[in-house]
């Protein structure tokens, strides 16, 4: 397994946002992480990426124990996070956003990667010198993903990539996830849009109140857990 999380607990003060969470992601897999608002999905990604210190449990990446490592160390070992709300640098140009994404690379490698991500996201070339703050929501999301890909991650964590996007752009995001999957990328994706995520993922974990309450593949997962109502009817209402 590329990523092995076991018994992970994360606390905000005295409140446990994650309780004894275990999950794994294999090389080349696309794994979904679904669950209602406040289930701890973002907390899980942020803890794995090193933004939050775990209170208990271990994170093993590619056979090495990286529990509690700083975000920059996690990135160096090959794990990149597209954070919640994208957090692209609004005052930077598109090109600068991509360059900072490749800061850990040597200059020649960085230039190669710029070519590579522009191939995946052709619109970036036409907006090369535009301020990232002026991009549309869909473009900004693509830039955030492109920026994370710049460092040649072996595992890409994505936090709600479809959040706040118009329906047609949501389609584009899921097409992109499918494309990255077909290119052999390893992804761990947090999504509220459970049904759509289960379509593109190899398998998924269901998180509720900070704990894993189900796992499996395909739309059967929703029926198996008692979360069908929360997700499907709840989000449609």
């Amino acid at each position: 397994m590329l990523l092995e999380v076991s018994g992970l607990t994360t606390r905000y003060g005295s409140i446990s946002a994650l309780r004894d969470v275990s999950l794994s992601v294999g090389d080349g897999e696309v794994v979904g992480l679904i669950g209602p608002n406040g289930a701890g999905k973002t907390t899980l990604l942020n803890t794995v990426a090193g933004l939050l210190p775990p209170a208990a449990g271990t994170v093993v990446f590619d056979g090495t124990d990286v529990t509690g490592a700083a975000p920059e160390q996690m990135l160096k070992s090959g794990l990149a996070l597209v954070p919640e709300h994208r957090r692209i640098f609004a005052d930077f140009t598109v090109a600068e956003n991509l360059r900072i994404g490749g800061i850990t690379l040597a200059a020649t490698e960085r230039a190669e990667m710029l070519e590579e991500v522009v191939e995946v996201f052709p619109f970036l070339r036409s907006r090369w010198d535009a301020m990232a703050g002026y991009l549309s929501g869909g473009e900004a999301q693509q830039l955030a993903i492109a920026r994370a890909l710049m460092c040649r991650p072996r595992l890409l964590l994505m936090d709600e990539p479809s959040l706040g996007l118009a329906p047609v752009l949501v389609d584009a995001v899921f097409e992109l996830i499918a494309e990255l999957r077909d290119r052999g990328r390893t992804l761990l994706v947090v999504e509220q849009n459970a049904a759509r995520m289960l379509d593109v993922a190899d398998r998924a974990y269901v998180l509720r109140s900070g704990a894993v309450v189900g796992q499996g593949a395909g739309s059967g997962l929703l029926a198996e857990t008692d979360l069908f109502d929360t997700f499907v009817r709840g989000s449609a209402a």
């Binding site: 920059e72 160096k76 954070p83 957090r87 640098f89 609004a90 360059r99 900072i100 850990t104 460092c151």
Partner: protein, 295 residues
Amino acid sequence: MTELVQNLIDGLGRGSIYALLALGVAVVFGVMHLLNFAHGELITVSGYAAYAAFSNGWSWYLVAPLIVVVSVITNLLIERIAFSRVRGSSEFTQLLTSFGIHFLVAAIFLMYVGARVQTFAEPGWIADTYSVGPVRVEVFDTVVIIVAIVTLVLTAAVLQRTMFGLSIRAAAADFDAARLMGVNSDRVIRGAFALSGALAGIAGIFWLMRAGHTSPTSGINPMLSGVLAALIGGLGSLKGAVIGGLALGLAEVMLRTWLPGGAAALTQGVVFSLIALLFIFRPGGLVNVAHAERV
């Protein structure tokens, strides 16, 4: 008219020094959200280094680079010894720490060197002037303005064109997002302190040249000017820091000339009143920093 031009040049010269100090304050504030009240101590420490060097027969040409080097090293040491230990604490804790360093440095020199003001010779050309038409211009102001412009252009180039500059700007915009990109937090903070120290060092050369002395409390005035100018410009904005520095320098010089005879001694008080007024109408300073992406 002649007097106005003369005052403008004088104010720009003074303001250039403030701008370099303010820029150093702003660089550190941007990356760490620390308003560094210990910034002026860089001038205290390098002032004593300059005094020691002069006592050993050094000339200004050797002392000037020494001041920059000492200022950079001092700032890195202050970061290592003090600020690195309160990193991640509340902004108030960091602020108090910077106050602590400010007083501590003064106390160390007071205890181990003494309260006496240590003087050294100003360079011979400091009072020289030359004429441009009816305007008499100080060589000193000219040198200060040219050096400040070159320093600002170089700093801008570093911040805009190098990966180091990009990482400083990224860390200032969103520290966690920068770390997620692989920006090393230790390295970027140390880099910010080194840059800030270098800028204070260059400002310090001219500050010490003009003052011609150093004492345990030498850091107060440059600290006040740098912090105030950064606040006037709008904390977090590098452009604002430069504008704030120039504005402060010009305001001081203009007020000194325009205030009626007896009131000229109140220049400082009037400047502070103007700053208070500015903050009433523009609490964010002259240049507002948008944090649209900050959530």
